[in-house]
C-alpha cells in the first residue's frame, strides 16, 4: 500500500511542471500586452517612463528562463503578485475564494454521497418498478436542466414564493442547501445511472449465481456482493468528481452570488486580470491532481485488486 501511494505521488511532479510552464507561458504569449493591460487598469499614462517602470515591476527585462525561475520561486512562496484590478494580493483573494468554493463543493459532495446510493439501490432493486421509473426520470431531468435555470427556479420557488430558504449570502447552513443541490444534481444523475447499470450487470454475474447457489440470503447477496462490486467503479468516479465540483462552481456561484472561485475567475476573465487567471490555473491544476490522487487512493483502499495488484 505504501509503495502504491509513493508511486502515485511521484507521478504528480511532471504534471505540475508542465502546468506551471503552460501557466507561465500563456501570460508571456498574450495577444494583449500585460503591461498595457496593467497600465489601463491602473489609469497610468502611456509614457516611456511608466512603461519602463511597469516592466521593471514585473521583471520583464530579464531573460525568459530567469523570469520563469523567479516566478516559480515566488509561486512556491505563495506569492502570485497583485491583482491588476484591485491591487490586492492574489494569493489572499484566491485563498478566500477557494475556501468558500470548497465549502460549497463539500456540501454538494454530501448530497452526492447520500443520494447516489439511495436512488441507485432503489432503482436497481426492482428494475422497471415505479421507484426505478422515478429515478430514471430524475436522472434525465438532472442531466438536461441547465444549472442556472435550476438555480433560478429554486430561488423563485423556495426563496421568493415560499420564503423558506435564503437566496444569497453564506451565513448559515440554510444558505448551502440550494446552491449545493443545484451543483450536485448533474453529478448525482450520472452516478446513479452508472450505479444502476453496474448493479443490473452484477445481478446477472457468475458470483451472484454462486452466492445464491450456496444458500446465502437474497438480502445479504445484494448488500455485500452486488452492492460492493457495483460501488467500486462509482467510488473512483466520485473521487475524480471532487475536481469537477470545484471547477464547476462557476455558473452556480454567479447565480447565488457565492463569493468563491467561480465568481472570482469570471470577473478576472472579463477584466483581463492575468495574475488572478494565472494563479487560478495553477490552483485548479493542483485541485485536479489532488482529486485524482484521492480517487486512486480511495479505489485502492476499497478494491483489493488495485491495492495488491492483480495476481499478487
Amino acid at each position: 500500500m505504501r509503495k502504491y501511494i509513493i508511486k502515485q505521488i511521484l507521478m504528480i511532479i511532471p504534471t505540475l511542471l508542465i502546468v506551471s510552464i503552460v501557466a507561465f507561458g500563456m501570460i508571456r504569449m498574450l495577444p494583449a500586452d500585460a503591461v498595457e493591460t496593467y497600465m489601463l487598469a491602473n489609469h497610468l499614462e502611456m509614457t516611456d517612463e511608466n512603461i519602463a517602470m511597469v516592466e521593471e515591476k514585473f521583471g520583464l527585462h530579464e531573460p525568459v528562463v530567469t523570469q520563469y525561475f523567479s516566478w516559480v520561486s515566488a509561486v512556491l512562496h505563495l506569492d502570485f503578485g497583485e491583482s491588476y484590478t484591485s491591487n490586492q494580493e492574489v494569493a489572499d483573494m484566491l485563498w478566500k475564494a477557494f475556501k468558500a468554493t470548497a465549502q460549497l463543493a463539500g456540501a454538494a459532495m454530501l448530497w452526492i454521497v447520500v443520494l447516489t446510493p439511495v436512488l441507485g439501490i432503489f432503482s436497481a432493486k426492482k428494475p422497471n418498478g415505479w421507484m426505478d421509473g422515478f429515478t430514471r426520470m430524475f436522472c434525465l431531468m438532472g442531466t438536461a436542466i441547465p444549472t442556472f435555470v435550476l438555480g433560478f427556479f429554486m430561488i423563485r420557488l423556495f426563496g421568493v414564493q415560499l420564503k423558506i430558504l435564503p437566496v444569497s449570502g453564506k451565513e448559515s447552513w440554510m444558505n448551502y442547501i440550494m446552491p449545493s443541490f443545484a451543483l450536485s444534481l448533474a453529478h448525482i444523475s450520472s452516478f446513479v445511472q452508472m450505479l444502476r447499470n453496474e448493479m443490473l450487470e452484477n445481478k446477472k454475474g457468475a458470483f451472484t449465481l454462486y452466492a445464491n447457489a450456496r444458500g446465502i440470503k437474497e438480502g445479504v447477496v445484494f448488500r455485500t456482493h452486488i452492492l460492493k462490486n457495483s460501488m467500486l467503479p462509482v467510488v473512483n468516479t466520485v473521487g475524480i468528481s471532487i475536481g469537477r465540483l470545484i471547477a464547476g462552481t462557476v455558473v452556480i456561484e454567479n447565480v447565488f452570488s457565492w463569493p468563491g472561485l467561480g465568481q472570482l475567475i469570471t470577473k478576472a476573465i472579463l477584466a483581463r486580470d492575468y495574475p488572478v487567471i494565472q494563479a487560478y490555473i495553477l490552483l485548479i491544476a493542483i485541485v485536479f491532481i489532488c482529486a485524482n490522487l484521492i480517487a486512486d487512493l480511495l479505489s485502492a483502499w476499497v478494491d483489493p485488486r488495485i491495492r495488491l495488484g492483480e495476481k499478487g
Binding site: 434525465l140 436542466i145 441547465p146 433560478f152 430561488i155 471547477a247
Partner: protein
C-alpha cells in the same frame, strides 16, 4: 425484430421540428422589433400582442425568444457540425497515417482530456478575451477531442478489414480509401455521438453566454436573456421563466433523442 419507435420520440421530434421552423422563419414570425425599447410598455403581462409579456425595457419577450432560439441552437449546431468534421478527419488521418503525427494527436488529446472541457474553454477565452468569435473558437478547440478519439479507434479497426486491404492492393489512392471505404464505416457512430452531444453543446454555449464570456450582447441569446432577467426574479419572474423553459426543453429533447439513437445503435451492434 424491428423495434417500435417509442411515443416520446414522436413528441420530441415534433418539438424539435417546431424549433427548426422557428429557426428558419424567426425574422418572419416576429411581430415586434425585438430591440425596440418602449419604456411605457414595461412588464406587460401575457396578452395576444405580447404572448410572453414584455421585459424591463418594454421589449417583446416572445420575439426575443424566437430570435434567441435561432442564435443559441443555430450557433451550437454549427459549432458541433464543424467539430464533428474536424474531429473525424483528424482521427481518420491520425489512424491512417500513423507514426509521429498519430503520436502527437494522441498525446495532445490525452493531455486535454485530463481537465474538464468547461475549464479549458474558459481558459482559452481568458487568453483570447471574451467575444462571440472567441467562444466559438474556444469550443472548437476543445470539443474535437472526443470525435478524434472515436474516429481514430474506429479507423484503426476498419483499416485492417479485408475490403480496405483489397482496395489498397488494387492501387486505390489514400484519398479514395479514406473517403470511399473508411468514412462510410464511421458514419453511424459519428451521427450517434453528434446527437448525444448536441444537448450539452447548447447547454454549454448558453452557460458561457450567461456568464458574459460567450456570445455578446446585443445578439439575442437564451443564456443572455436569462442573465438579463435574473435581476427581475422577485418582481417579474416571467421574463426569466420563458427563455429558461425553452432552453430546458430543447436540451431535454436532444438528450432523449440522443439516448434513443445510441440505444438503437447499441442494440444493432
Amino acid at each position: 425484430m424491428k423495434k417500435k419507435i417509442p411515443f416520446r420520440i414522436y413528441i420530441v421530434s415534433a418539438f424539435l421540428l417546431l424549433v427548426l421552423i422557428v429557426m428558419a422563419f424567426a425574422p418572419q414570425l416576429i411581430t415586434h422589433d425585438p430591440t425596440a425599447v418602449d419604456l411605457l410598455n414595461k412588464y406587460d403581462p401575457s396578452s395576444l400582442t405580447y404572448p410572453f409579456g414584455t421585459d424591463d425595457y418594454g421589449r417583446c419577450v416572445f420575439c426575443r425568444c424566437l430570435l434567441a432560439i435561432r442564435n443559441s441552437v443555430g450557433i451550437a449546431v454549427s459549432i458541433e457540425t464543424v467539430t464533428v468534421l474536424i474531429g473525424t478527419i483528424l482521427g481518420m488521418l491520425a489512424a491512417y497515417i500513423g507514426g509521429v503525427f498519430d503520436q502527437i494527436v494522441n498525446v495532445v488529446s490525452e493531455a486535454l482530456l485530463s481537465f474538464p472541457s468547461v475549464i479549458l474553454i474558459m481558459m482559452i477565452v481568458a487568453f483570447l478575451g471574451a467575444s462571440t468569435e472567441n467562444i466559438i473558437l474556444a469550443m472548437l478547440m476543445v470539443n474535437w477531442i472526443w470525435y478524434t478519439r472515436i474516429s481514430r479507434s474506429l479507423t484503426l479497426t476498419l483499416k485492417e478489414r479485408k475490403y480496405v486491404q483489397a482496395a489498397k492492393l488494387c492501387g486505390a489512392s489514400s484519398a479514395t480509401i479514406l473517403l470511399r471505404h473508411i468514412a462510410p464505416g464511421l458514419m453511424s457512430q459519428m451521427v450517434v455521438q453528434f446527437t448525444m452531444s448536441l444537448g450539452s453543446v447548447i447547454l454549454g454555449l448558453a452557460g458561457f453566454s450567461f456568464l458574459g464570456i460567450g456570445i455578446q450582447r446585443p445578439t439575442p441569446e437564451l443564456g443572455i436573456m436569462i442573465s438579463d432577467g435574473c435581476g427581475l426574479i422577485r418582481t417579474n419572474f416571467m421574463v426569466l421563466f420563458w427563455p429558461s423553459l425553452i432552453l430546458f426543453l430543447i436540451v431535454l429533447s436532444f438528450q432523449i433523442l440522443g439516448d434513443w439513437v445510441s440505444e438503437r445503435l447499441r442494440g444493432r451492434a
